[in-house]
Structures are given as structure tokens and as C-alpha cells.
Subunit: 281 residues, 2 copies
Amino acid sequence: MQTIRTAKAMMAWSSAHHREGVTIGIVPTMGALHAGHRALIRAARLSCDAVVVSLFVNPAQFGPKEDFSRYPRKLKADTALCAKEGVDVLFAPPVGEIYPDGFQTTVSTVKLAHRWEGERRPGHFDGVATVVTKLLTLVRPTAAFFGQKDFQQAVLVKRLVEDLNLGARVIVSPTVREADGLALSSRNVFLTPGQRRAATVLFQALKAGRAAIRAGGRSGANIQQVMRKTLVAEPLASLDYLAVCDPDTLEPLAQIRDRAVLLGAIRIGEIRLIDNLLVTC
Amino acid sequence: MQTIRTAKAMMAWSSAHHREGVTIGIVPTMGALHAGHRALIRAARLSCDAVVVSLFVNPAQFGPKEDFSRYPRKLKADTALCAKEGVDVLFAPPVGEIYPDGFQTTVSTVKLAHRWEGERRPGHFDGVATVVTKLLTLVRPTAAFFGQKDFQQAVLVKRLVEDLNLGARVIVSPTVREADGLALSSRNVFLTPGQRRAATVLFQALKAGRAAIRAGGRSGANIQQVMRKTLVAEPLASLDYLAVCDPDTLEPLAQIRDRAVLLGAIRIGEIRLIDNLLVTC
């Protein structure tokens, strides 16, 4: 496995591989890799000739009061995991390679960027859209792999790639969970044992919503109420939002027809957690 | 010469030519081609194996009160000019190919987009940045050719291409002028004969500024005053702005050191005209 640190070297690698007709898969990450990332890497490894994992804690997608500086960084373990999974390139650029002096361009998916996570984290999705655009223009992958856990991000990236003709297939892999259902997240390490136990309530709430739909419930407001009830029973969790949405536009559904995504965000102490479930009726 | 109308066909053409190792030049235009565009096509023809001229009157770069609907459209003459100049592909997509249903992504070069033309034409440069990004991802050219007449646009495109790693060289060709100095523009056809005579005052003003610098003037305010004096002598012209700026950042210069760009915009009747001169001390 090769580690690449500059934009120029990344583009050169990509051009050389394109000339050979090789298919390239990219797994964009912020490092602190866990089994969820590993599932994405394996999906890429199975379907592409060459696999690039990018590892870049993107300052542009953190708000001024968010956890950029304390976001977990584990380069050594990440490198070992990538090597073991047969990754060809670990692209780990310093910030100045992605945002050099004078950098001033922002990519924004106007509608999707301003609801749910975007409403709570102003600027977050512009930061995501901009860095994903850059990763895709630097690497020019055949396919890009994202986790379902960040559902809104995945929808936004699909839109972005289509809108800007970035020419990659966007593949979304199912959320990987702990045995008790907690969605894997690099931020879970910040939870104390008590908080860790409480954190499962988000998945419980989403499952309660799914069960209510499967039992015939079709009113968005009712399903939301069902989820809310489960959630407020956990004193350590504070509700941010629980929503029943159209999986493509992420607009709230008054009435569920054939498909819905249940989106949830909670705070446990200082830690913000998100999760979601897709439901087909 | 081949005319391509869909994004998909354009990408297919580009991929096929990339596989052959061919260099591609693009000349992005809004049609109504004149000798200024022809100079860009010839520059592309000389330095690239294959030349694409795009012809797209981009609604996103016109304001609600601007001249999108009356912008001159001359597809037949444009096609003939391109064929005569040895263009390989005329890319003339309908609006729905560039902005399909659900399209919502905007590219913005934050600082450069909001001064001078951007200040007078809100949203204009976001429209330019977005469509240029799309043209470059669809065609993936080796080089892209722009006219110096739209100086701010050229600076912004250079910035954008670097920031988003779009991988094309941006070539800026000198402004082509009428015998009396008026910069060629597709909008000049709207001028009445009297307005046409008056329109040269913009170039006269810029030349007066240049002469003052060449005579040793270094104060931005003084040079601006010199240009202004020339301009206000023409009763048919109303001043929008005349500025002495840094050619890279387009920030106003209090004191000129080695290089400056003189930027000007005026209105003659309903018609807005811009021009500029680069001056090296």
C-alpha cells in the first residue's frame, strides 16, 4: 500500500491508472476507522480494480463550536487497517493540500444542505460538498462508497455528483451496528459507560417507528410521536430531531406511501449522535 | 464538425478522445460569435488536438431583470463560423441537459464573486462558476480559452479550476477591438449608431488611465479621477464603475506598484458595457 500526501501526486496516480483502463473505488473518510469503514472498503475492494481510502479531517465541515480539534485521530491504526484490507492508496493530505492559500470556492447543494443536520450545523454540508467534489476531481473514481449512517450526506453526494457530472457511481452501504444496535461512529469513543448504554435509545426509537409503520401506521405525525415516546424515556438523551421523510428529497412526509426514511439525532452529554432507518411499505 | 446536444453524448465523446491520448481545448461561449470568439477558437485550434466550442446561453448567470430572453441567438451563423474554423464539436445543449429536474448545486468563488460585476449583478458569477464547472467536468479539456474582455470572469475561472482541481489550463486571450477601440461584445448589436459612437468613451477612459500610469502616476485615486474625467465628458454614457485593481485579487489599489488592471463598466441607454486594460509599470 502506498500513502499519498499531495494533490499533485494523487492526480498523477489517478491519471496513470486511468490510462490503463483500471476502475477506481474511493472510500472518503475522516479516519478513526471502524468496522463501518471496513465494510465500505470491502465493498470497494470487491467491485473495483484499485481502491483509494482518503483520510482527511475536513475543517470546512466542522462549525466553530464543534469538535474539529478533538475529533479522534488514529493514523497508525488506520494505516494498518487499510493495509490489511488490501487498499492500494491511502490518501492522507495535510489541510494545505486541500485548501491552499487563496482557496475560496464553495460547492453547495442548496436545498438538501439546509435541512436536518444542515439546519443544526450551519455550513456543514457546504464543507462536505466542497471536499467531496475535490476528492472526486483529484481521484476521478469509477465509484465512491458512503455509509448509510450519514443518510443525508449520502443523498447530498448523489445529487452533487449528478449535478456536477462528476462521473462516479455513488454506492451506499448499510449501517454497521454494535450487538445492541448502536450505529458505529468514530465519536462513540467519547461516551462514558453509562452514556454508552443510554445511546442505544436512538436505534430503539427508530425501530419503534419502523414497527408502527409495519403495523399499518401511515401518518408521519403519529410515527414521529411513537419514536419520540421511546426516546424521552431515556433521561440521559436529549432529543434533537426525529423525522419521517421522503428518502430522496428528505422532505417531511405527512402521509407515508411506499417508502420513508426515519431520521434521528440526539445529544448525550456533549456527544451528538445520528442514525436512520429506511422503511419500505 | 459534429454537433452534440446531450450531456451523455458529450461525456462519451470526451472519454473516447481521452482514451486516445488526445488533447482537448474548449471555448465556452453563449453564442452570437464574433471575432473575439474566433480568436479564442484559433488559439485553441493551434494548441490542442481537438476543439470543442460550447454554445449555451446560461440562464443561471442572468439576473431576473437582465437580458436573458433578448440575448442575441444566431445558431446558424455560429455553426458556420465554427465549421469554417475547424472546430471538431459544437456542444449546444438545451437548458434541461445542463440543469435537469431537481438540479440544485451551486459553485461559488466566494470573494471574487461579490465585487465589481458581481456586486452589480447578484448571482451572476455563481451562475458562471457553476456552468464552467459543469462544462469542464463534461468535456474534461486540457485547456479552456477565455477572453480578456471579461477580466473578472477569467480571474474567477482560474481560481475555480485550481480550487476544484478541474485539471485544465486556463488560457486568456487579448480583447479583440473594433478599429475605434470598442471591445467586441455580442451586446454591441443593440447600440444605435449614436450610442455606438459614444460607446468608445469607455476604452478612451481606460487609455487615459493607462497613459497617466505610464507618465508616472501611481495613486489609484488619481488614476481613477483621470479615467472618470474622460468618461463624464460623454453625455450618452452613465458611469457604473472605473477602478484600479490588483490583477489577481481584483482588490482596489491605493498605490500602484508593478501591475494593475483598470476595470470599467458603463451604461449607454439600456446597454451595459464593460472593458479593461492591464498595465505593467
